[in-house]
Structure formats: structure tokens, C-alpha cells
Symmetry: C2
Subunit: 326 residues, 2 copies
């Protein structure tokens, strides 16, 4: 952890109380002058840090900017995810950035956030709108020991974790639309794009790209999306602390990734199923030119959707666009 | 096609006869002086081109160097594969080079050869020995519209094409060892490494890395491989024209890739099965820590191996190391 992250962690653990310069100096094993210089630097980033002779330093508020040290300090200890966090002000797509890191051998668990993306993308090359500081646009790198066909497990785990984190942080009741969308009252609020690099029988790495519409107001969505998409701000009626939500999501992702690695996909899938808006319903699935109708029954061991078709066959569905039948 | 490739094509189509400077000048629509300059350049690369006032230019021999223009001139018309050929004297791994091209948006069918690789690799990160000018070490880029799980079809097609090209060019009778090796008298002579980049339900691109031990003599194999590996030179007792073999392989790959794209995997699989040394035999398959014994029965629709285990179950096998039981 960097010095800034350690300072922020210490201030946060005081929970609104103060921490004296000498305490910080001891804890971090650097001079009080150096602490002072770092505090000044944090202030210049927008952190409101009070200093008083009696109470020491106190963190009053943090800016609505994502900042790697701040995210690390909020995150606390995780097993894999978020040990390495990088924040870009703007990039083409966080998936592209992390793919470069993956090829350079960066360890799994690395996370790349961007305050905005010029070429954010959804599934099948679709555009993903990512306006500056209105959402969480990030990607994480995983190197699971699994077959490519099992990678759907990771999308399932990410959806369960994302939905849980949103519920914990906002009190909203998000639902999962198979395979990769989080919806609230039928409108999309977050999505997951899973990309992988593999040999035939072995994943080299998986990239989970996650986009959450956090603080967009209705007018900030393009007209054609207003009936289909929403944001956490619209649903709760208030602005959401993006950094705190980001930390919550990373913690939940870390927890579910650990479960997948430990072979506990069934537990993850059970939780996923309890939040799923797709299972048990009659759906139409478009797969390229093909269209299949049926009842979404359950997930298979790899996380694929088992669909009971009108002819009574059970089909295994990996991707596609799902529409609920009225 | 470049001017050099056009000149070589014209000289080759004369089949040992000559082509006059004025014919070449007309065909290529450049001056006789320019033709002369290109011929001089080709000679400097090692092409033995005779020039006589009566017979014109005549290609006597080509050097044992891979040269993109030469490969293009030998290849003739293909549908997809080899329209874009690049030759490197040395590189880390041709798969790495073509992966960069893939991300830069290069069209499918591009082929990268290297005269030697410093970090050639086989399946599961294993090292692949690629000494200078002793073999064919190359990679090709495909962008098929398929699910990731169907990518095994491409390995199957490549193995069938590679085996056929070796048979056509050398008269040897190679066999295919599932999933990715070509063997002669039980010894490995060529291998295929399939790598893919994908979303969960859609391949973005597939890279086929192919290595063929062409002109290595027995002493050039590391001691520990001598019982396991062989070369076309060892098996035929003579040096093989690498460029001609390369063109043959690319033509056959082009043919089988077209069949896969046209949905004719069954035809490819039938041909593959007739050359397969694995099907119909009792085998042991090592998958990581796991080991499965059974009888290799056939391929499934995606190109996976169907194994009848000792307990009578039919298992679908995607990768692993296969050993024939005695």
C-alpha cells in the first residue's frame, strides 16, 4: 500500500475522530513533515482533511473522483481482487487497458477504472456509454485454472456479486437478467462483458468488464435508452458515493471469485438463481439470426442457461439476447 | 501482389522455359530496365535466374530462405489464407506477432512465418524448439463466426490439412494424434497450437500456430526428444523444399477452412478420422492432475473427443495428453 493509501486508511479507521501527526508518523514510519506533505497533496486532490492541535487530522470528506489509493484504503483486505488498482481519467476501454496488462504478465486481481471511456463496449461489440464520473467503468483481470467453457461461471459470479453489492450499498432490489445484465424494475442499471484468451482446453486469462450507471440523471441517457436503462441515482433519488460502491463491489467480487476457485459454483449459482429475473419465465432468445422460444429452467454446471423449448427439448444456451415474454 | 511476386510467378509458370524481358515488361506494365533491376535484386536474395538473349529469363533455383513474395508466387489463388504473408528472420513466437496484428485489425487469413523463434511454444506453455531454417514455424489468423467451444473444429481441420499436405508433398503417410499432433511411425513431426480470443458466446479471433520439423537431422534434436520426435528429412532421407511445402500446407488449410466456414465440418472430420492414430484405440488421457482411461470412439460435433471410459460412460474430452495403451 502506498503512503497515501495508508494515511487514508488510518484516517478512516478513526471513524470521524482524529489521528495525531505523531501517531501517523509512528504507524507509517515516516517523519511528521512527510505526513504533512502527503496531507497537503491529498487536499490538493480534493480531500477535505481538517487539522487541529487537539484532535489531529480528521477526514471530513473525499472528492467524487476515483483515486487508486483511496479505493485501496476503502477496500480493506481482499484475497485476490483489487490488490492492484489503477485509475485512468480517460481511456478507450478499460478492457483494452487491462488486456495489455494481462499480456505483460500482470497478476490476477488487477483492476483498472476509468473516469470515462471513449470506446466503452458491451457484448458483441456494442457501444457502452461511459460519461465522465457518472458511473463505475472498470475491468478486472482473472487467471482461473479452468476450461474456456466454464468461463460463464465467472459471469454468473460477477452478476451475483454486483447485484449483492448494489443491494448492500443502496437498499435497492436489483435483479439479474441472464447472462450479464443487472436490472431494476425491468431497466438495465449495470452490465458485465466477459472476454477471454485461451487455448482450446485452458483459459489463459479472463477479463471482466463492468459498467454501472451510478449518478446519471434521466436526461443524461440518450433518448432511445430512456425506457430501457436507469441509474442508481434515479432509482434511489440521491447521489451515490461511487468510491464506496466500488469498494463494496470489489469485496463482493473477491468473495465470489474465491468461491468459484474453491469449486463452490453451486453455492454461487443458487444465490444467483434467487435473484434472477429470467429463470422460471417464458423467454425468446435471439442468437445471431436464430431465435429460440422456451422456458428458462436453470443453469448447468458451467453456468449456461438450460432452456426447455416449445418442443420439450432442453437446449443449452451460452449467449444471446433474452426477452421475457409477456 | 508485389512486382517481385509477379516476376517469380511468371518465371514459375514458364516451368523451366524462359520468359523474355519484353514479355515480363508487358505483363507487369513496367519498363524492361525496372524488370532488370528487380531480377538483380532477386539474385542478391539467392535466386539463381539465368538470362540469355534467346531464351530470356529462366528461374534455375530458389534459395532455402522463406520470402513472402516467393511464397505468394508459389501459393497461387486462395480464398482466405495467405493473401497477406509476412516473414521474419527471428521472432519470439509467431503466435505473439500475429496476435498483435489481430488486435490491430488485420484481416483473417494473414500468415506470419519466422525462420527461427526464440520463444516458440507448444500447448500449455511448453517450449517448442525452432532452429533457424530447419522447419516451418508459422501462425495464421482466422476470424470465424463461431462459438468458442467450436474452435476445436479448426484444430481438427488444420490437422487434416497439414497431414494431407505432408502426404502430397513427401509421399509419407503421416497420422494424426488427437488433438494436435502429426506423427510418423509414432514420432511427432508437426504440432498445432490453437489460441483464441473470445466473448463467452462468440470468437473474436483464432490463431493457429503450426510447427513442422522439416530438415532437422537426428543429431539436431535434443537428446531427450530423439525417441519421440522426427523430421521429414529423417523420414524421407532427403532435404525438403520448405517453401514448396509451406505453399502446399497453406493451400490445404485454405481448402479446409472454407469447408468449416460452409458448415461442412462432418466432411473434414471424416477425413481426419481416416488418418487418426487415436480413434479405435485404448488410451490414457492426462488432464492436469486427472487421468482417464478408455477407448477413443469418435469426434463430437464441436471436434471434441468422445471417450468410452472403463465404466462405460461416454466422456467429452477437449484437451489433455493422450498416450496409446499397448
Amino acid at each position: 500500500m502506498t503512503t497515501d493509501a495508508q494515511i487514508l486508511t488510518a484516517l478512516r479507521s478513526a471513524q470521524g475522530g482524529g489521528v495525531s501527526g505523531s501517531e501517523l508518523s509512528q504507524q507509517l514510519d515516516i517523519s511528521r513533515a512527510a505526513i504533512w506533505a502527503r496531507i497537503e497533496e491529498l487536499r490538493s486532490f480534493g480531500y477535505d482533511i481538517e487539522a487541529s492541535p487537539h484532535r489531529g487530522y480528521r477526514l471530513v470528506s473525499a472528492p467524487d473522483h476515483l483515486h487508486a489509493d483511496d479505493l485501496l484504503s476503502r477496500l480493506g483486505k481482499t484475497r485476490t481482487i483489487g490488490r492492484d488498482i489503477r485509475v485512468f481519467q480517460e481511456t478507450t476501454s478499460t478492457n483494452d487497458v487491462i488486456e495489455k496488462l494481462a499480456r505483460d504478465g500482470v497478476k490476477e486481481g488487477a483492476v483498472v477504472f476509468a473516469e470515462s471511456q471513449s470506446k466503452g463496449r458491451g457484448r458483441l461489440g456494442r457501444k457502452w456509454m461511459s460519461p465522465p464520473r457518472k458511473g463505475l467503468w472498470f475491468s478486472l483481470l482473472l487467471r482461473p485454472a479452468m476450461r474456456p467453457s466454464a468461463a460463464t461461471q465467472l459471469t454468473i459470479a460477477a452478476a451475483a456479486a454486483l447485484s449483492r453489492a448494489i443491494r448492500l450499498h443502496t437498499g435497492l432490489k436489483p435483479e439479474i437478467k441472464w447472462p450479464n445484465d443487472i436490472v431494476i424494475r425491468g431497466k438495465k442499471v449495470a452490465g458485465i462483458l466477459t472476454e477471454l484468451s485461451a487455448e482450446l482446453d485452458k483459459v489463459k486469462y479472463v477479463i471482466l468488464g463492468i459498467g454501472v450507471d451510478v449518478n446519471l440523471s434521466a436526461g443524461e441517457f440518450p433518448h432511445e435508452f430512456r425506457k430501457l436503462a436507469t441509474s442508481l441515482k434515479i432509482e434511489t433519488g440521491q447521489s451515490i458515493d461511487r468510491a464506496e460502491l466500488a469498494a463494496e463491489i470489489l469485496r463482493e467480487l473477491d468473495r465470489d471469485y474465491a468461491r468459484i476457485c474453491a469449486g463452490q459454483f453451486t453455492a454461487v449459482a443458487d444465490e444467483w438463481e434467487s435473484q434472477c429475473a429470467t429463470l422460471g419465465h417464458n423467454v425468446v432468445i435471439r442468437l445471431g439470426d436464430r431465435q429460440i422460444q422456451g422456458r428458462a429452467e436453470s443453469l448447468d454446471v458451467d453456468g449456461a442457461l438450460l432452456l426447455r423449448t416449445l418442443h420439450g427439448h432442453l437446449e443449452t444456451i451460452i449467449g444471446g439476447d433474452v426477452t421475457l415474454e409477456k
